[in-house]
């Protein structure tokens, strides 16, 4: 099956800054593809090249197999939902949604029917006569998507469309967007710097850093099997230790940290004794216990004192200071077992070697 969208060795330079550096990816039909990266890493630049507002310095963009480099933006079979939506404030909602159809010279009665259908689809029937500023943030959001979807594009591009919404609405729209994508059955390319948006909605996620793709994979891949230290640090949170490898047998290895602790971890890539490396352990893969015996099954065990408790509902954390003075973040289970935990208590913590990912550090 030909992918809906394919980018090959895409490069974009502005003067001597390289905003997008050799990016290649392909998006299969009907899938939800996200590009996730910190601010300024080049996400919008990729999007604008696909939409046709920027010319790539080199590389190719293919839609349904055909190169679109010579196609102007108004002829490309892609549409874009802008970061701040860019609804036309001088038109009614119905005229906004019908704009693209009018450009295609569709007869008036047919446009009216399609607009009504689209409004039903996004769950806002009968608001066609309203002005843009008479809608709520979430409603505008849906209208912006409907405005693109009536044109039945091959690919819909969404540039951080939830950025302007408040937290509660954003949570709601995540689910809604995924449902809309299923309803319209179109390929979505979604960019965001919010990992939970990407993890919840996407079939495939590309993690981007400084103009390059670090890793492309499913949410599980990125979370459980990060390829690079950047991905390990960017997706979810992690406790980190730097040190020198002491023993290595296949991917199982032992590292001595700069502070002198011995740790067992799993290598990503090849590592041999003497290499400098960094270990990442997620707060949620560390087990808390009152006694050392309860942790005997774990490869790594430490004893420490509680320095503070960061209460955040289900995502509450405890900060534990170990014997050499490092502070670790550990997720606090809400099972009631540690309900009486307080500052200064002594705790045992442990985690398996499989949950500790180790990467080589460039010397």
């Amino acid at each position: 099956m030909t992918p809906d969208l394919e980018c090959a060795d895409l490069v974009k330079r502005f003067g001597d800054t390289t905003a997008v550096d050799n990016v290649s990816f392909s998006v299969p039909p009907g899938s939800f593809f996200s590009i996730l990266g910190p601010s300024g890493c080049g996400k919008t630049t990729i999007m604008r090249m696909i939409a046709g507002f920027l010319d790539p310095t080199s590389g190719d963009i293919r839609i349904k197999g055909g190169s679109v480099l010579d196609t102007p933006p108004n002829k490309r079979p892609v549409n874009m939902v802008f970061q701040h939506l860019a609804l036309f404030p001088m038109m009614t909602i119905a005229d906004n949604i019908g704009y693209g159809l009018r450009r295609q010279k569709m007869p008036k009665d047919q446009i009216a029917r399609k607009v009504d259908e689209a409004l039903d689809r996004i769950g806002l029937p009968g608001i066609g006569g309203r002005k843009v500023d008479e809608l709520s943030g979430g409603q505008k959001q849906r209208v912006a998507i409907a405005r693109c979807m009536v044109l039945e594009p091959d690919v819909l591009l969404l540039d951080e469309p939830l950025g302007a919404l408040d937290l509660k609405l954003r949570e709601h729209m995540k689910v809604e967007l995924k449902a809309l994508q299923a309803a319209f059955d179109t390929t979505f390319v979604y960019i965001t710097h919010d990992q939970s948006e990407a993890l919840v909605m996407s079939d495939q996620i590309a993690v981007m850093n400084a103009g390059r793709f670090e890793q492309v994979g499913t949410g599980q891949d990125l979370y459980y099997r990060p390829d690079t230290p950047f991905v390990a640090g960017f997706i979810g949170e992690a406790n980190r230790w730097k040190g020198r490898i002491e023993r290595a047998e296949g991917s199982a290895l032992e590292m001595r940290t700069e502070t002198g602790l011995a740790m067992r971890a799993t290598a990503t890539g090849t590592l041999s004794p003497g290499d400098t490396a960094e270990i990442f352990v997620r707060p949620e893969s560390i087990r808390l216990a009152a006694t050392a015996e309860a942790l005997s099954a774990f490869d790594n065990q430490l004893q420490g004192t509680v320095t503070s408790i960061l209460f955040n509902g289900a995502a509450s954390r405890v900060l534990v200071q170990d014997s050499v003075g490092e502070t670790l973040e550990v997720t606090l289970p809400q099972s009631g077992e540690f309900a009486n935990l307080k500052r200064g208590d002594t705790l045992h913590i442990g985690w398996g070697a499989a949950q500790a990912t180790c990467f080589a550090v460039a010397a």
């Binding site: 939409a51 046709g52 507002f53 102007p72 933006p73 108004n74 002829k75 549409n79 874009m80 802008f82 970061q83 701040h84 860019a86 609804l87 036309f88 404030p89 001088m90 038109m91 704009y99 693209g100 450009r103 295609q104 405005r147 693109c148 044109l151």
Partner: protein
């Protein structure tokens, strides 16, 4: 507290009321009264509409009246056509310093007085002027060309004088247009023309209307440019008012003309607002 607020309000309002009353309302009431009286003999006046009848039947007066109206509308339209691309360039395409420099360039001609500016055009356009000499030198003309004292020369002068008053409101409204709205227009299949018609112009409408009103009133009430650059038959209505008041000392007819001009500009401004479906409050902001 409320009393204080009231006194403050009255104090703020007083200069405005004085200004409106002394300079606008009272002279106009007086002018209306003057235009409605007829001099029977020395110091004896009678109320009548003779001057209006005369103004509306005398072909020269009527012709000048309509010519002035039509030419002012034309000057406004030409100014809009030239100013719109200029304003669009300044507001949307030029970046940083270039934007400021271009804006200053529009402003610089207003550092010199209107008289000097108009005289500048005379130096360029007259028979022995720069353009005439240039044409002869290039072999495009074999004798001096007179470009002054024509409607075209007058139009050039009117447009030049009004330019800034069109560019400023247009730049202000166009600057508030979000770039991504224009991009969305293209992204959804629009071409340059349809984006201009459906997105840019509707957005710029308040600027267009207020710019047009100001330019139209300035052109209609302009005295210097038509007198200096216009020909013998491009008589401007303001020149006739001047003639009646100053040359003929016929204040009654002059006041009548003045009143006709006031009614004309009110009607045209009202028509312009009706046509674009706006109210004066919206336009003046």
């Amino acid at each position: 507290m409320r009393l204080h607020a009231r006194i403050g309000f009255i104090l703020l309002l007083t200069p405005l009321v004085l200004w409106l009353g002394l300079l606008i309302v009272i002279p106009h009431i007086d002018m209306l009264l003057i235009s409605l009286r007829e001099r029977i003999s020395f110091g004896v006046y009678e109320t009548s509409t003779t001057h209006y009848q005369k103004a509306l039947t005398e072909p020269l007066y009527l012709r000048t009246f309509w010519r002035t109206a039509v030419m002012s509308v034309l000057a406004t339209a030409i100014t809009l056509l030239i100013a719109f691309p200029v304003a669009y360039y300044i507001a949307k395409m030029a970046k940083g310093r270039l934007q400021q420099v271009l804006f200053m360039l529009c402003l610089i001609p207003f550092y010199v007085s209107e008289l000097v500016r108009t005289f500048g055009w005379m130096i360029l356009l007259r028979e022995t002027g720069l353009i005439s000499n240039l044409l002869q030198w290039a072999g495009l003309a074999d004798q001096p060309v007179e470009m002054l004292y024509t409607d075209a020369a007058m139009m050039v002068g009117l447009v030049y004088t009004s330019m800034l008053f069109m560019v400023v409101p247009l730049v202000t409204t166009l600057e508030s247009l979000d770039d991504s709205v224009v991009e969305a227009g293209y992204d959804l299949g629009g071409n340059g023309l349809s984006v201009l018609r459906e997105i840019i112009i509707p957005h710029a409408m308040p600027g267009i209307v207020s710019g047009c009103i100001v330019v139209f009133m300035l052109s209609l009430g302009n005295y210097l440019t038509p007198t200096m650059l216009g020909g013998k038959d491009s008589l401007w209505f303001t020149e006739m008012i001047y003639n009646q008041f100053i040359v003929r000392s016929n204040w009654e007819l002059g006041a009548t003309f003045g009143f006709m001009l006031l009614v004309l500009s009110s009607v045209i401004v009202w028509g312009m607002l009706r046509l674009t479906g706006r109210t004066l409050q919206e336009t003046m902001g």
